[in-house]
Symmetry: none
Subunit: 201 residues, 4 copies
């Protein structure tokens, strides 16, 4: 968020940034300690002073990316509007974020979730209490149900179903890359439309 000059940033930050750059340029497979080190003019060994191992480094990046995504969703919820509007905005914002940072999205969401409870797992029951985004989404849906805008149903379960839909769209867009702008937008709107209508009473 803060745009420090690269040279004055702390070493861990510079490492993280370099890693993100490489991730963005060449994908996860291209990310190696060697490349990170050479990009910031540091020895490979130096990285281990700041991050226990590659897993920890990747973990940090992923966590930061996740926080970004959470902030994005929070902001939308604070802006106000009808639940359906907020939902539509959220879909667009989520997809847009994925397309802007495709490699981060992949690193974040297209990887195995080791212990099912940890990380970005979103399908387990009770997730609305543990994960901020799901809590917000479930609350939003619950409000819509109370207002008679959406059909009554389990808000958490519904949040999960909606999320998998959005996630699927974002994932395909990221994985398939370039698509005609017009078609891409039509697709998003069609999806938004199906979801919103699908929730209606």
């Amino acid at each position: 968020m803060s745009t420090d000059a690269q040279d004055t940033a702390s070493t861990p930050t510079r490492i993280r940034r370099a890693a993100e750059e490489i991730l963005a340029e060449g994908g996860y497979e291209a990310l190696s300690m060697r490349k990170i080190a050479s990009r910031i003019g540091l020895s490979q060994a130096a990285i281990y002073r700041h991050y226990k191992d590659k897993d920890e480094l990747v973990g940090t990046i992923v966590a930061a990316g996740y926080a970004e995504l959470v902030a994005l969703v929070e902001r939308l919820n604070e802006k106000g509007g009808s639940p359906a509007e907020i939902l539509a905005h959220t879909v667009r914002a989520y997809v847009g974020w994925a397309e802007e940072r495709p490699e981060l999205f992949k690193a974040l969401l297209l990887r195995e979730v080791r212990p099912a409870s940890a990380g970005v797992a979103g399908l387990a029951p009770g997730v609305a209490r543990r994960r901020r985004t799901f809590g917000l989404l479930a609350d939003l849906l619950a409000r819509g149900m109370e207002e008679g805008l959406f059909a009554r149903a389990d808000p958490e379960l519904t949040a999960q179903a909606v999320w998998t839909s959005i996630f699927g769209l974002a994932a395909r867009l990221v994985l398939e890359g370039e698509l005609p702008r017009e078609h891409r937008e039509a697709l998003i709107e069609r999806q938004v439309n199906i979801i919103v209508r699908g929730l209606s009473p």
Copy 2:
């Protein structure tokens, strides 16, 4: 599960099977010619008699997996029923298939699509003509629209939107692994419900 008799199978088959096993156990990153060879007690070089290189081997596996999926969808469409029923069956079958062969699903659908036109790309315009599954899905939706069951809209675009939803659900289930059976089913039904209602006029 069903066709054992590993020792009597042809070498290419044994190679393919070993590759799928490794894929299933450790994911794509774990797949190496070395491991395949040692697993079936063959020299590394021997593999190259049967598959030009790693790409060809993976390609064969992926193609077979895709064919399986196509056959599955075709069978459902032939069985008859209302478009909404067929659609619901398709979602369940697709998700079920993904969960049964998680690593194949990942190898097939969670990888980058290099030239957007090739491979499993599903979002490009005109895909209904090129890809059997999309053609079937678009036809199904068109029929539903004609019958007044679904709201009128571009069938291909709608097929793509529906597919990304289903794909998203399958992908999350595969990536997150174990989930309570009951919850898993509730989730699928909720998703089916949203999609079908989302399409209704």
Copy 3:
């Protein structure tokens, strides 16, 4: 020399031809039994029916190439003319042959000579008796000396010295590849001139 149709030629011949083609296209390093076999639609193992091993195959090719070169030099000597003229023609023909079949030239002359006595070794004493080309060259020089055209000296030693000069020119032309036509010719003529004048009394 005889231009048989490839299909009717004997298998050993087809093998040899394929090997020469590969040699010409990609150099010695590119020559492999696998490539030869695939080029003529034969199994690798089949080659071993006709040639004991790679060495024998290469040996055969080299021998044939050498015979070609010998025939070339013989023809020039039979055509008549003054020794100086024949010598000049020989230089031009030798260099021209090398440039026409660069890979054969390299396989023939730019490789180690294992037992110093064998193969294409040309510097050992007595070579004029053992090797046809050297015999011809030495005879030519001897005739020139008798005619008072060339300064008197050991004909064999002189033949060797002259040959290394020509060989050096041919080798450099082959190794350095493309050169402006004009410059190439000027270079050859300059070399011919130096040699002929260098032999003059």
Copy 4:
């Protein structure tokens, strides 16, 4: 021969030495990173810390060899004497150097010259300006021409013709290996004689 103490030398030096040894024993084809590593009791990967890849390692060796050769020729030109004498000394020194370091000579001069302009290419026009040895040789010949010792001709072209002759002699001596000392010397002197007389007015 002179600077032993292999154990105390720096790793890059030890790598280079091992490479040269292997080159000397088995030629370029025998040179492999594996062999180098095992010879100095290092892991293969360790070599890559000191040389980017095989090309860089070979390049370093070749460059050093070339520098050696240049220094040799320079020294002879500085020692003084008549152009004919210097030329004769140069031929002897060049051939002697080739015989002392046969594998280096082969690695340096018996390899393909990829882009005709680069590397050790000597036949292209204008080489006298680009390559120190050729410049020296051309200057030497020009001086001889001015002094009326050599017939007037293009000095660069003449230098190239002379060089190919010398190169041819050195190459054959290196390729054919052992030769009776006496015969070898007679051969060199005969070649020197032909060249010097060939240049005379």
